[in-house]
């Protein structure tokens, strides 16, 4: 079995490997074929701003430079938060235990999902006990990092008839919107008619 993640909750400990689920694996995929008017196959490339120089895919590279465009050695750089404080490296979920906490339906519906993983259990009893724990709408939340980096992803464990899944992405705190545009007025028409003489001259 592939490397497993050790999940730990209050009344539930289990380990499972993960397999990414995407549309290609569920529904299939589409390949676009492009040919010129002579039937020759074509590929997408780029044209530089001189209007004539062509660049094929794979012909560019990313470089890290300073504000004078001198190349910098990445090993000499450090990662900081936007306020300048040193950033903390979040370990990979495959290294050490991953703590699970309860999540709400709002957490799930606030989660903008970027990846879906199916959990693969070594034995059927572990799958069953985890599925039973997550039955009836129970959700568990954790921080997911495939590799160690500085920004972990929000993730939620969920189950259905097809298995146990980890949905990863980011939880967005949507603001409640209120109507700040108008003030409540009870009897605007009566007050206007009684208090003011209507000027039809309008000069």
């Amino acid at each position: 079995m592939a490397k497993a993640i050790e999940f730990v909750a209050d009344n539930l400990n289990f380990s499972a490997a993960i397999t990414k689920v995407d549309r290609d694996k569920v529904y299939g995929f589409i390949e676009l074929n492009v040919k010129d008017d002579l039937g020759k196959p074509c590929n997408l490339g780029s044209m530089l701003d001189d209007g004539k120089t062509l660049v094929l895919n794979g012909s560019t590279a990313l470089k890290t430079v300073d504000n004078k465009y001198n190349e910098l050695d990445k090993k000499q750089l450090k990662v900081v938060y936007q306020n300048g404080e040193d950033a903390i490296l979040i370990p990979s979920s495959f290294d050490g235990e991953v703590k699970l906490s309860e999540a709400s339906f709002d957490d799930l519906f606030n989660l903008e999902i970027t990846s879906v993983y199916q959990l693969d259990f070594e034995d059927a009893s572990a799958l069953k006990s985890t599925s039973d724990y997550l039955a009836d709408g129970k959700l568990l939340r954790f921080i997911f990092n495939y590799r160690a980096d500085y920004e972990g992803a929000d993730a939620i464990l969920i189950t259905n008839d097809e298995g146990v899944f980890a949905l990863t992405g980011r939880i967005i705190e949507f603001p409640f919107l209120d109507n700040k545009l108008s003030l409540p007025v009870d009897s605007i028409f009566e007050e206007t008619l009684e208090d003011e003489e209507m000027d039809f001259g309008m000069l």
């Binding site: 299939g28 676009l32 890290t64 903008e112 919107l177 209120d178 545009l181």
Partner: protein
């Protein structure tokens, strides 16, 4: 620290409009917005100077393997040329910082083409070719003559929460007092029923949503919450059911 991290996650928003109808047949054009995340981190030198990432040109088409193979006739010819000179290197362009380029189709002769024919090959999950066809054109239908509306019944959240993958979210927003009432009532009804409704577009009100011409098609679900006199109304987009994959 925590407050500062929350500030970094404060959203920058992009707003567009959607023509949406409620269950009473009333419709309005309202704003919808997505939430893009600001970067949490940056890389700096030891002195604290910010670094930036730029795209650099390695070679142009005339220096590519395909072009050299045409010129030299064989890999051995290319090897000989590489030993004796630098055919992969263009003194004018190698190392050039690229900002904007134009996408163009290039044929096997490494020439740009302007008249193309497109076909799509549809493959099953196991890689088997299912069919070939002319690509389908998608036309945006969120701001069309026929408003986006409910495609059917209310779907209890407890029944569908684990059926679909909601990959993209848009928040609907009012732009005046009337649309505030309109959206608030929709959110209130959805919260009271603890349900979502599937949205659809088109003349018959049964088409998936397309947000821009040539864009992907999505199934859309409307979800509402209220708190006092304020509301949240979200469109959740999905193009994937939560299904297991066999190995």
């Amino acid at each position: 620290m925590k407050k500062w991290i929350l500030e970094c996650y404060k959203k920058t928003t992009m707003s567009r409009k959607i023509n949406i109808a409620d269950n009473k047949g009333r419709n309005a054009e309202v704003v919808f917005r997505s939430f893009t995340k600001k970067p949490l981190i940056k890389t700096v030198t030891q002195e604290g100077e910010e670094s930036q990432t730029v795209r650099v040109l390695k070679s142009v088409a005339n220096n590519s393997y395909d072009c050299l193979l045409k010129e030299k006739g064989s890999d051995d010819g290319i090897v000989e040329s590489l030993i004796n000179s630098d055919p992969e290197f263009n003194p004018l362009w190698t190392g050039y910082f690229i900002s904007e380029t134009s996408k163009v189709y290039i044929n096997s002769d490494l020439k740009p083409v302007f008249k193309i024919q497109k076909t799509e090959a549809i493959f099953l999950p196991d890689g088997t070719l299912k069919e070939e066809r002319t690509p389908k054109e998608t036309i945006a239908n969120i701001l069309a003559e026929y408003p986006v509306k409910s495609a059917g019944k209310f779907l209890p959240k407890k029944d569908i929460y684990n059926k679909f993958v909601f990959s993209k979210k848009y928040q609907l927003s009012h732009n005046n007092g009337l649309t505030f009432d309109f959206l608030f009532e929709m959110a209130k009804e959805l919260q009271e029923k603890d349900a979502m409704i599937m949205l659809a577009g088109g003349v018959k009100g049964n088409e998936p949503l397309v947000f821009q011409d040539g864009g992907k098609t999505y199934r859309a679900f409307l979800e509402g919450r209220i708190r006092g006199n304020s509301y949240i109304l979200l469109i959740h987009l999905s193009n994937l059911e939560l299904k297991g994959i066999s190995k």
